[in-house]
Subunit: 205 residues, 2 copies
DNA sequence: AAATTTACTAAACAGTGTTTATTATTTCCA
DNA sequence: TGGAAATAATAAACACTGTTTAGTAAATTT
């Protein structure tokens, strides 16, 4: 099966090439400003060729969204070495915000853009597996904190979702430009102040 | 000045008609699925006419975003009658979430969509006045709580932004479909659980 | 009544995602 | 090895999108 093997290899290679080109254009020009034709031009293929490798544009965006989760996941897994769950929880918040602010376009794709979820719906896939894996990491940490006697009276799932909402809210507001003119100070300062408040609250809970 | 008066009245009337048509289409078909041509068809004018009343599509979206803030603002002002700042803060969270979930398309326009902010940038307007008014209402309430001896050790601005992020995060995740498959339970239950956690934390702070 | 301003639109431009029909190439099998 | 079958790639078209331009008809002013 030497030929079939080479064929599938070429297939995945061109697929990867398309994704790399798409990602490059996203990072330098933004998601909505890059078209299938732009991607085709970069990789020097016709636009129609892209449709031999991906069902539609949403599938490309979903694939890149998954790449983002892989990268964020590997950063999160590094925190498994932190044994104290409270410490790990705070580090998780820090790493999450760090990833989001260093990879705004990717974060947008992962947690804000509609396209990746539209793709799931079209596939009749009702489970957002990437999101669930990440959420469960948070949930497990929160449950460990509860087992260690913290967060008395809180439902682990509800509290985890609240914590996630909190950090997501910060970056979502910043990414979509809702911090402009909120404070007279540097927008970075209000961000830091909010994260400080977050840490203080986690500590006191 | 009878004629000129009538002219300006007609002008604002057609402007309002365009906005009403746009809003109607948004609510029933979504923002990205409605085009200038769709709006023109509803009001039975040519697409080009719309450009005599609005600079571009972003201006229409910005105008509707402002309408949304007017409506949310009037709901928030009702809470001025609540004298206890802690009670008012919690009610503010409840009203915010209620508005967001009853007007998802409007909320999206106000706090998630890029278009209204793109319009501000094109106008070289660096202050998001609608957002600032709403944020200041929250900030004032938080400052009153601090004056009443609560939230010790917290910076009012940072804490306000954190509270805002928290409630925004919840609805933003839901609106952009990031709650699917997170929990086995009804997505409504996790939402309620998160809000319960929010209230508990505010109370204990 | 003629000139001018205003209100509106048909048609075009340059772009978008996507599909279809066609061509060139490669692989398979007799 | 030569002809049939399968694969890979594309040019061109379709039905859209936001927006601009040039031109027409009506209302207003002089």
């Amino acid at each position: 099966m030497g030929i079939a093997e080479r064929k599938t290899k070429e297939k995945t290679e061109l697929k990867a090439l398309i994704l790399a080109a798409a990602r490059g254009l996203f990072l330098e020009r933004g998601i909505e400003e890059t078209s299938i034709r732009n991607i085709a031009e970069v990789i020097e293929y016709s636009p129609a060729t892209i449709y031999l490798y991906f069902k539609d544009k949403d599938e490309i965006l979903h694939e890149l969204h998954s790449q983002g989760f892989q990268e964020m996941g590997s950063r999160m897994r590094e925190l498994m070495s932190v044994s104290d769950p409270m410490e790990r929880l705070k580090e998780l918040g820090r790493v999450y915000l760090e990833f989001a602010r260093e990879n705004t376009e990717m974060y947008d794709l992962m947690f804000i853009a509609k396209a990746p979820m539209h793709f799931l719906e079209k596939m009749e896939e009702h489970n957002w597996s990437e999101g669930k894996v990440a959420f469960d990491f948070l949930l497990n940490t929160v449950e460990e904190c509860i087992a260690a006697g913290r967060f008395a009276g809180h439902d682990p799932c509800g509290l985890s979702f609240m914590i996630w909402s909190c950090v997501h809210g910060m970056v979502a507001l910043e990414i979509r430009d809702r911090c402009k003119g909120i404070s007279n100070e540097n927008p970075d300062i209000i961000f830091r102040g909010a994260f400080d408040a977050f840490i203080k609250i986690i500590d006191v809970l």
